[in-house]
Amino acid sequence: MAAPYPLISAPTPRILVLGIGNILWADEGFGVRAVEHFHKTYEVPDNVTILDGGTQGLYLVQFVNEHDRLIVFDAIDYGLEPGTMKVVEDDEVPKFTGAKKMSLHQTGFQEVLSTADLMGHYPERLALIGCQPLHLEDWGGPLTEPVRAVIPAAVKMAVRILRDWGVPVTARPEDAVVPRLLANDIDYDNYERRTEAAALNF
């Protein structure tokens, strides 16, 4: 049961495009909003899974195990200007918690990666598309303008990486009707329409 089942050498690698973060917590929602925008604007073949990982931590390990390659959108504290996008790939992505906290989900996602490694399923290719957040303490606050503005570029970066990996990605037509990745009023447009309400500010 615990033995790592060997990866079947599939001619087409299984790819996971994952967004993580808490949409209720201002710029923490970057990863989820980016993957939501990707889903809205681009179409991918069947070997690519688009996943809103939301607030899940260790439970995401099964999704990493089931795919060969991984692209992750996440809010990352690099100590840069808010709204700066930074991409790290493969060995650059720190597998293990170092001295400096990079991701806000480090206890979650870094552990997911190292646990996948322990289980014998570390991704063969890996890209982390991060964005420097502005507000983290603004509970219930919106995604801030500099972070929101970076989403189209972050999505384009994911498309470029997928194409580099040989995956055909096509832009959806402007008027395409796409089933929502997030529904029940928590999709980006509906969620953010409440910005007129006073957010708690500390």
Partner: protein, 596 residues
């Protein structure tokens, strides 16, 4: 200075202060400060944390039928439980009922979440407080096999199997990449297991990682997707089409058979792995019975898992409901969420402002006005606190009280109440564990008791899942395929102004949402979560909360390795995922550790 809290705990904050503080958060973060005496025994404890409060702002003026989708995002571990609590609150406010099938399916989803959370909590978030991973490297695989076979007939127990696990572990450790095993206090004197027991536990850590993904398939089947399954006010979103083959989303016989199979696996894993592991580990920690705190005095449970749809009376709820105060197990008090005198939140020691802070507020009348200030004896600055002043405001967590009493909630609270009510399904397994370990009933009120209650509950939940799965299938076979009531779906059918409350037993304890609906929109929404009960700061009377009480009188092997603090705090399964570091009294960082 020595003082006595009204709830019977002697506190002395004169000794050396140790701070266990977070550097990041996922669901929120927490920090523990303790004072130890000259023998390194904990004599004072201060628990502080951040807790989600912005939900009230976000939900204002939204459609109550969507509230579950927001509350499901509060936290990464209680997702479905928050959603269930939310739909129940809305249904309670609007007088909406659900069909029998929906009741069975909701119970199956809630119980699956309980089992999943309990197994992942024990193996992946708590076991390493008892199990020394590095010691497992020196285990004899043959002796490990003999040990495993003496505690269970689980098939993965050969010497070769344990040798393989050990080889994998060695490779991982020797590569310098400890990964999930980083930050442990390997070799600390408070680890009591022999190498073979450590190796057996590490093998089961890996097996549980692999198995947990099967459990959540139940959420995908009934909730349409996972993570973040779908819920529905008035029932469940999944349609039943029993003869359907491949109808998208509908529940057919093939899917129900898969659920049955997973339930069988859950029962077997609990019986042959989880519970035997707890017994094996417990047998080596029989003399480490610290951490009881409030569990032998004041415990609270709301109850959950209704036998009958729409009947939330004590008699219908299979997980027990009630309150025990002052250690009087002979009397289990009834609990009423709507009674303004029973559940109240205080902010005397919380960073919020009330017009009169000597009084508590019932959640329907809850106010969340932040007021951040440090007490006169705090050290550091507002942005870099070195030491809190517990005589002043010191936490973002409010202090909920039941009739003025600080209460412990969670699996141990539920099992103590079930035990006190003389319910055989709770009393018999507890008595068996105590008899097998040769321990008195008082041993239940401990860190180990909390951890054991969780395992017994996982086992109980597996059997309840089988019961509700059979009930669901029998009801469908009898021709009932209804999964939702939609007669009150439209806001036009609702009263102008109503209020309601929904409650569940989350894996980590009693959870309730209070809602006020006005003109079809949310007017006020308040969540009181289990970790608010357990992690609460002091109240105006000076009663200390469950986390703080549980640490008092615990000896530490080495104060710069707060293993014992983490062991006890983790035993509550706090919904605060965070990494912590240990600070010396002069603010120098001395060590780092993970707290979740």
């Amino acid at each position: 200075m020595t003082s006595q809290s009204p709830n019977g705990v002697t506190l002395d904050n004169s000794g050396k202060r140790i701070v266990v503080d977070p550097v990041t958060r996922i669901e929120g973060h927490m920090r523990i400060e303790v004072n130890v005496d000259e023998n390194n025994i904990i004599r004072n404890a201060v628990s502080t944390g951040t807790m989600w409060r912005g939900i009230e702002v976000i939900l204002k003026n939204r459609d109550p039928r969507d509230a579950w989708a927001f509350t499901e995002r509060i936290c990464g571990v209680c997702t479905g439980t928050h959603a269930l609590t939310s739909v129940r609150a809305v249904e309670n406010a609007l007088g909406i009922t659900i069909p029998d099938n929906a009741n069975s399916i909701r119970n199956l989803m809630q119980l699956a979440l309980q089992v999943h959370d309990h197994i992942v909590h024990f193996y992946h978030l708590h076991a390493l407080d008892w199990v020394d991973v590095v010691s497992a490297l020196s285990a004899d695989p043959k002796a490990t096999s003999a040990l495993a076979q003496s505690v269970s007939d689980w098939p993965l127990s050969s010497p070769g199997y344990f040798k393989d696990v050990q080889t994998r572990l060695r490779k991982f450790v020797e590569s310098g990449q400890l990964g999930p095993f980083k930050n442990g206090y390997w070799g600390n004197a408070s680890y009591k297991l022999p190498p073979e027991a450590n190796l057996m536990a590490v093998a089961h850590y890996l097996e549980a990682l692999d198995f947990q993904k099967e459990i959540v398939k139940i959420h995908t089947i009934f909730g349409g997707k996972n993570p973040h399954p779908n819920w529905l006010v008035g029932g469940v979103p999944s349609a039943i089409n029993i003869d359907g083959t491949g109808a998208v989303g509908a529940i057919n016989m093939e899917r129900l058979n898969l659920v049955t199979l997973i339930i069988d696996q859950i029962i077997e894993f609990n019986n042959k792995v989880y519970v035997p592991d707890i017994m094996a580990i417990g047998s080596f920690y029989k003399d480490w019975l610290y951490g009881g705190g409030l569990s032998g005095k004041n415990v609270l449970a709301y109850g959950d898992v209704p036998e009958h749809a729409n009947d939330h009376s004590d008699a219908s709820l299979k997980l027990p409901r009630g309150a025990i105060v002052n250690g009087n197990l002979a009397e289990v008090h009834p609990v009423d969420h709507a009674d303004p005198e029973q559940i109240q939140e205080f902010v005397t020691h919380s960073w919020y402002k009330y017009p009169d802070e000597t009084k508590g507020l019932h959640p329907w009348d809850g106010v969340t006005e932040p007021h951040y200030e440090l007490g006169p004896n705090a050290k550091g600055t507002k942005t870099n606190i070195e030491q809190l002043d517990e005589a002043a405001k010191y936490s973002w967590i409010k202090a909920p009280r039941w009739r003025g009493h600080a209460m412990e909630v969670g699996p141990l609270a539920r099992w103590v109440i079930g035990y006190a009510q003389n319910k055989a399904e709770f009393k018999d397994p507890v008595d068996k564990v105590l008899t097998d370990l040769g321990l008195p009933v008082s041993a239940l009120f401990s860190t180990l008791g909390r951890t054991a209650a969780r395992a017994l509950e996982s086992s109980w939940a597996g059997h309840q899942m089988r019961y509700f799965q059979n009930k669901l299938i029998a009801n469908i076979r009898a021709g009932d395929s209804s999964t939702a009531h939609i007669d009150k779906w439209k806001p036009e059918t609702w009263p102008k102004e109503v209020k309601g409350v929904g409650f569940t037993e989350a894996p980590r304890g009693a959870l309730a949402h209070w809602i006020k609906i006005k003109d079809g929109r949310i007017d006020n929404y308040q969540c009181v979560v289990p970790t608010t009960w357990n992690g609460s700061p002091r109240d105006p009377e000076g009663n200390i909360g469950a986390f703080e009480a549980s640490l008092i009188d615990t000896p530490m092997s080495d104060p710069i390795q707060p293993l014992e603090i983490l062991r006890t705090i983790h035993s509550f399964d706090p919904c605060l995922a965070c990494s912590t570091h240990v600070m010396s009294p002069d603010g120098q960082e001395m060590a780092r550790v993970q707290v979740r």
